[in-house]
């Protein structure tokens, strides 16, 4: 009987694990879904923005520990806001200095942003050293929550999930209920017409790009609770991120959510029944198969061309 309830507990935890992987994927992809999905900019440096968000948290953690140790339980929330601020500003700068000159040349954007990602990687290496770092987390973020005997729900996983939920809801609201969202969607659908009716499309582009980068920064800060950050961490994230966005159907936010869910569940369930490497093979084959049947991704925006 005991072993039966324990099995149930493990299945429950495995279910939670699937949701946890889902929220990590979605959080990674959210910023890119805006930049790539809405603006069509292939931002290869997206992973580095995640890493910069994570490093910001690390800087805050070290500074708090050195000068304000009594603030350790709270610094984390402040550092997330700071991560957003830093990456938003950097995104703004990158759009102004580089991306805006390349809007009509998508393949050049790919090269340019890839170059940017290499520059950022080396910059991070020069500033923080090649070693991977992880911030000291407040105690309330570590450990596990036990709602039932045998059931351990990792608190950091729970935390990432809450952040994902809030952020996704925020992006949805902004995109579909705010004036800015309206202008973004108008610009995506028809740039020339939007300009003609008086929307400052350049401004929309810049805000959108910066916002996407800012969201990546928050995501990076959240990831410090589950993994380490090194100069090359960004390149680990980038594949999963593009996979999620492309599989979902580039221009659809719902697509990104659905795609993150499908990939995460396939991965999590298959990992439980086979080895990690085989699970990855199975997940990627599933994605390839579905993309062969639906090249436009899971969801696609219906547009009059």
């Amino acid at each position: 009987m005991e072993s039966f309830s324990e099995l149930g507990a493990i299945l429950l935890m495995q279910g939670f694990n699937g949701l946890s992987v889902f929220s990590v994927l979605l959080l990674m992809a959210l910023g890119l879904a805006i930049i790539f999905g809405q603006m069509g900019v292939i931002n290869m440096a997206h992973g580095e923005f995640l890493a910069i968000g994570a490093y910001t948290t690390y800087v805050f953690s070290s500074a708090t520990q050195a000068w304000l140790p009594q603030a350790m339980p709270y610094y984390y929330l402040v550092s997330m806001l700071a991560a957003f601020g830093v990456t938003f500003a950097l995104g703004w700068l990158v759009e102004w200095a580089m991306v805006r000159h390349l809007y009509r040349r998508p393949l050049d954007t790919l090269l340019a942003t890839w170059g940017l990602s290499l520059i950022l990687q080396q910059a991070l290496r020069s500033i923080f050293g090649p070693r991977e770092v992880s911030p000291v987390l407040p105690d309330w973020l570590m450990g596990s929550y036990q709602p039932l005997p045998f059931v351990d729900i990792p608190i950091n996983g729970l935390f990432v999930m809450v952040v994902t939920l809030l952020l996704t809801a925020g992006v949805m609201l902004a995109l579909f209920r705010s004036g800015w969202g309206l202008r973004v969607r108008a610009t995506v659908q028809n740039r020339a017409m939007s300009g003609a009716v008086g929307i400052d499309t350049r401004r929309v582009d810049r805000t959108t790009f910066a916002l996407g980068c800012g969201i990546a920064g928050i995501a990076g800060a959240a990831f410090t609770t589950i993994s380490a950050t090194g100069p090359t961490s960004g390149s680990l994230y980038i594949v999963d991120t593009f996979l999620t966005v492309v599989f979902g159907g580039a221009a659809s936010l719902f697509g990104t959510i659905a795609s993150a869910f499908v990939i995460a569940q396939t991965q999590s369930v298959s990992e439980f029944f086979m080895t990690g490497s085989m699970a990855k093979v199975l997940t990627l084959s599933t994605v390839v198969l579905i993309l062969m049947l639906r090249p436009q991704g899971l969801f696609s925006l219906k547009l009059r061309k």
Binding site: V21, V24, L236
Partner: protein, 412 residues
């Protein structure tokens, strides 16, 4: 035999094929017949002897190899300060392998053919060692290699100052079996040659010698960060011991998530052969307190040699620097070479190699070591318990030196 003709076995892997192609181009640069093998002079004058250092100072492996670079430099500086070797000061030419195996091969050739160095201290990953091996053999160079590795290799031109797999693995498993009454094991590794070969050896030993059981064996790609499913599977199988060979950045994710999933040393025995003081710096000691690591060296070893070594290392590289197993093994290289050269009375590679077997070195930080005729070191193996401050308490060590056995029978 013409120098330009690559041996057939050189052509088996892409890396080697590239190396072979580069070799084929060599005669254009160096007149045939003037190679080192034909007795050309090493870069040794009455005042100095030139040696090479070949590690990754940039790229992904820089994080691991930096310690080795520092330790070798420290040893060389100490030797020079004490009067050098056979009255000559050592001058180092440092090359950067840049975490790229063909680059390692190219730089190795440069050091051996153009610089004519007397020896090279270098490499870290097995992949880089495999890339330079044919060049060292062809040019009759000498390499001191510091990393613990999977074994299954032995070359006239290489001395392995780290442990081969059986030295590191078997006595650790015996210890956990004896002390923790462990019978069931869950083997985990990053997906490449060293963890796979090591786990293969571990499995044979567990099943055939300890009469235990392997209840799971899994590999995850380098850089993997989501271990949730794996941890649930471990909970399902309830192994006595988690045997982990996770490396690099994955380490931090793995141990953080292990803690978040409710595992701790209070309810879990975990033994690893891939966590040294260097890795603990990234993982954070507080996340892994009480788990065990099996190595030949820990920074906290209590003996006069090690005290002096740690003090000198910190004086040179800062009070916060830490010393892991490989760093110590790298430190042995220059000293073992010095002893062999002095015994031979010559810098010639053949003489140094001939003088090396059974050389004893009692000033090693890890204690006394001895060179085996198979070019590996006799050494003790130790089990350390991880502390919150990122150091280890040594809880056990083998009473005798363990004989290196790079080609273990019954473990293939």
């Amino acid at each position: 035999m013409s120098r330009a003709k690559p041996r057939p076995e050189d052509l088996q892997s892409p890396g080697r094929r590239r190396a072979a192609m580069a070799l084929a181009a060599l005669p254009m640069l160096v007149a045939p017949g003037l190679g080192r093998a034909q007795g050309a002079k090493l870069a040794v004058t009455d005042k100095e002897v030139v040696v090479g250092q070949l590690h990754s100072a940039t790229g992904t492996m820089a994080i691991s190899e930096t310690g080795s670079i520092q330790a070798e430099r420290l040893a060389i500086d100490q030797i020079n300060a004490a009067g050098g070797i056979l009255g000559r000061q050592i001058r180092v030419i440092q090359e950067d392998g840049a975490s790229d195996w063909p680059t390692f091969a190219e730089k190795a050739r440069k050091l051996l053919v153009s610089d004519r160095v007397a020896t090279v201290f270098g490499c870290w990953t097995s992949a880089s060692r495999k890339a330079v091996l044919p060049i060292f053999e062809k040019e009759n160079g000498l390499l001191y290699y510091p990393t613990f590795y999977e074994g299954l290799e032995q070359s006239k031109n290489v001395f392995y100052t780290g442990q081969e797999a059986t030295q590191q693995i078997l006595s650790g498993l015996d210890w956990v079996n004896r002390e923790k009454k462990a019978k069931t094991f869950y083997l985990i590794g990053s997906d490449y040659i060293w963890p796979r070969t090591s786990n293969k050896i571990a499995r044979k030993h567990i099943e055939n010698v300890l009469k235990g059981q392997v209840v799971g064996e899994e590999y995850y790609p380098l850089g993997h960060t989501q271990f949730g499913s794996l941890l649930n599977k471990i909970k399902l199988r309830k192994p006595d011991v988690i045997y982990a060979i996770v490396v690099g950045g994955s380490n931090v994710s793995f141990y953080k998530q292990l803690k978040a999933a409710g595992f701790s040393s209070a309810n879990t025995t975990l033994l690893t052969i891939s966590v040294t003081e260097d890795e603990l710096l990234g993982i954070g000691g507080e996340n892994v307190e009480g788990y065990y690591s099996c190595m030949k060296y820990f920074q906290s070893l209590d003996n006069p040699n090690n005290k002096a070594f740690v003090e000198a290392f910190k004086a040179k590289y800062g009070p916060n620097s830490v010393i892991g197993d490989v760093t110590q093994a790298a430190y042995l290289g220059p000293w073992l070479w010095k002893m062999a050269v002095e015994k031979a009375g010559s810098f010639e590679v053949n003489d140094v190699v001939a003088a090396s077997p059974n050389l004893e070195f009692d000033k090693a930080p890890e204690g006394y070591v001895k060179i085996h005729p198979n070019h590996h070191l006799w050494s003790r193996t130790r089990v350390g318990r991880m502390r919150g401050d990122g150091q280890f308490d040594v809880v056990w060590e083998t009473p005798d030196l363990i004989e290196p056995n790079p080609f273990p029978e019954g473990y293939q």
